[in-house]
């Protein structure tokens, strides 16, 4: 798998869909491709947020730490972006991510990511658009819940 393939994966991520191809290539180039064994954690709930991950291959579980032990709340597959909220809001990890099987991911370093955003407004805009969409979705869900 080469840089080009990684760029293709990044393009599938909604947040990066509108970003200029050359910038995506830079993002991929400045990221690291890492492999996790099944059961290995990307990070644990409460850890400082230092990176976001794009899953290239494999699956990962989202676990929440509760008094009754870890419970799985979701599962992530290919081209999923995870951990981006933590690095944007500079808060500790809100959940644990664990590889469900041997998984390959692209690790986007927080510092590099923020520097790219600072450097290329067009990239920031794309991110903002995606965040706004999410907020809208959440609002809609809230409305739906309260009305039901």
């Amino acid at each position: 798998m080469t840089l080009e393939a990684e760029v293709q994966s990044l393009r599938q991520v909604p947040m990066f869909r509108d970003v200029d191809p050359a910038r995506l290539k830079l993002l991929a180039f400045t990221s690291e491709r890492v492999q996790f064994a099944g059961g290995q954690r990307f990070f644990s709930q409460g850890d400082p947020s230092d990176a976001a991950y794009v899953i290239l291959d494999g699956r990962a579980s989202v676990l929440l730490n509760t008094p009754g032990g870890d419970i799985q709340v979701a599962e992530l597959g290919g081209n999923a972006l995870v951990g981006e909220m933590g690095i944007l809001s500079d808060t500790p990890r809100s959940a644990t991510i664990m590889a469900a099987e041997p998984t390959t991911a692209l690790r986007i370093d927080k510092r590099v990511f923020l520097e790219l955003l600072a450097q290329f407004p067009q990239m920031s805009l794309a991110i903002m658009r995606e965040l706004a969409k999410r907020l809208e979705r959440t609002n809609a869900q809230l409305v739906a819940q309260s009305s039901s």
Partner: protein
Amino acid sequence: MEKSLFRYIWNHSKRDQLIVLAVVLGSLPFYFMSLDLPRQIVNQAIQGDAYRDGNPTAPFLHLSYDLPAWLGGSHLEIFEGFQVGRLGLLFGLSTLFLFFVIINGGFKYWINVAKGILGERMLRRMRFDLFTMVLRFTPEALRTVKSSETATIIKDEVEPIGGFIGDAFITPIFLGMQAITALVFIMIQNVLLGLIALGVIAIQFTIIPRLRRELLKLGKQRQLASRELAGRIAEVLDGIEVVHVHNSYNWERAEIGQRLFDLFTVRLKIYNRKFFVKSLNNFLAQLTPFFFYSIGGYFALRGTLDIGQLVAVIAAYRELPPPLKELIDWDQQRLDVQVKYDQVTQHFADERLGPLMLESGEVAAQDEPLVGPLVGEDIRVAGPHGDMIIEDGSFAVDLPASVALVSNGGAAASLLARIVARRSQEFSGRVRIGERDLAQLPRSVVGRRMAYAGVDPTLFPGSIRDNLIYGLRSRPLSRTEEDKRDMDKRIAEALRTGNPVESIADRWVDYESVGAKDEGDLDRILIELLDRIGMGDTIYLFGLAGRIDPDRDNTLAERVVDARHRLRETFQANGMADLVEPFDPGRYNRQASVAENLLFGVPISDEFKGRNLAENGKFRSAIDRAGLTDDLVHMGVQIAETMTEIFEGLPPGHSLFEQFSFIGAEELKDFEAILRRRGRGEGNLKGDDRTRLLALPLAYIEARHRLGLLDERMMGRIVEARGLVREVLENSASEGVEFYDPEHYCAAAPLRDNLLFGRISYQVANARLRVAEAVAAVVRELNLEEDIERIGLDYQVGTAGRLLSPQERASVSLVRCLVKRPDIFVIDGALAPFDEARSQQLVELLLGLFDQQSLFMVLPNDRQAGAFDVQLRFRDGKIVTEKTVAPAPRSSRPEPDAPQRITGEVV
């Protein structure tokens, strides 16, 4: 130092000056004879005076002496000479002239060498004397003395003084003699011409020095201005952080620019004046020959002076101006260096210096442990503004004890700590320990039995070990074997110049006093102390990054190679084989760069490092022969294309460039141009472009950069080329690269690379941490820990320890005190770099370590004071002594566990 430079020179070099002077005087008769010969050659041989009476022959080398009348006036015939013809006399006298030329040359040579050596010796003495005075600067003086200025003085300013010393006495005498000889000779030939020459000389000697007085004043200004310039540059450099923070570049640049302008103005004035005086001097010197030619010629025409005499007079006069000129120059130099010397002695004025540090033999008698009652009476310390910080303070403590000096927010606690540690003499009152006055304790006893760690840990450049044992080097204990002849020479020179005879090659470290048997044992003690203070991990990491010399430490090198194999087995057994890709002579290592894969070794010399490799002729010829050059250049083109594409638009200097790009921001344009040239056809690429492109793939790591440039076939070809590269490099007998060998230690690589013998995978998450843990486990298993930490002690701390973190500096400073095992250890702010929890831990540790000795510690508040036996508090200038009611029994005080060993990253 003596007030007058001449007295200083005379006091220290009488004997040598007199010897040289004697030789100078001895050379004068020969000089005189060489002056007389031209006259004889012209008159007797050429004009034939000796044959005037029809004699066919004349005596050559006729030596006789007429005794003066008061000794009987008899004629003493020593050698009646050879009877020779006219031609014989001419050649004989000419040969004699040549002979004297050689003799005089020989004398001159010997005298110059002797003077040079004399000057160098005095310079060495003077520099050493000045350095000794540097050690004696009082604390008050040190507040105003600038280190860089002092260094300039000792290094540069005394240099011309040293050059002058050899000339100080000999030159005026020698030149004076020469001038007088020449003058007397002229006088003998013709009194009038002699008087004329004398008159002009008299004018020269009155006017010129007067004109030069101004020069001296300017010289003084120049000296001070350049000294201050040196001081200012050092200040800016030391405070560069502040300059950056406040963006005061323009101010600093203007400041230095102004200084340079002032310096230039002074120098210009000196320059103008100097050359004016010089041309006047030359004119006066040329005035005399004018008189000789006109007046002497007139006499010769009139017949009162024969031609031979005139020629001799003019020949003699030719000899006169150089010594005269040199004499005047000497005088100028004398005044010049006297000014310099005055400036230097002013810098080291007596009132800025403390007492001499020489100590006599009775020191040993006083070298007893510093225990018993420590009593301070009537201690008064004044603050900088005349206010009293401590007034009539008294205290009494039975040592050994742990004493907390609890600060009241003012300077009192710290000042008392300095008084107890004998770091400060600026107080009135008395501090006694037992029967002994603290102020009267010999320095050697204080140095040996006391330690003081202040806020600012001062480290010297060198290894951590050097810094740790700095306090154990008070005197040499045994001589190391050195060549007898060299040693005699070194000691003789040292004695002649008032330098110490001790050699730093001797054994200075007193192992017994710290309870060590030998060097290795001392290392063990140092490591143990560092461990306890919490710096063990750091030292271990330093050790892993360090290098060993397998020739010197063969067993360790072999053990590391064993550990390498053991580590490999561990990886295999625990399913960690994919964490590290080992260096395999037959396989491409995807985690390593192309250059490393081609060399399969570690570059030693710079010409094989980084981009230089692409320009290295031997390497290039090897990859040419392997047929790889075109492929690598092609890879370079692909990398350049990708880089110019993805880094375009980033401003130059952006941190992403430095961190990720193969191409620096400033080179981006160049590579774009290369790519455009290439676009017009591959053949257009010149050698230079090819070299630049070739440099790019050399740094390419397939697993890290993932540009997909290397396929299996290419990797195979690179592996095949390894042998060829090695062969070419080995045949060229260049020691540029040390090649990897799975069975041998690679001296050029750091220890950790030797342990891993491979590269950690970029692709496996958390690989570094997991590898570090595995390495630590194997190191523990094979008992290599201490050896590695021992190598860590070799870590260089850099100027003022800047390569260490503040916490590490403070730790080294503490251990430097601890290893001395002082009777009294005073800590004043040395724990400041540590956070509260660590500092609390360290206090407990120190209290445990100083079970049998005394510990004084300045504490910012009461929080930790309870653990100490005694607390000294400060109220309204008074000292209040409080004993802790029930301090924990000292022996049962729990000692904090040493921090968990060996964690953190390996690479």
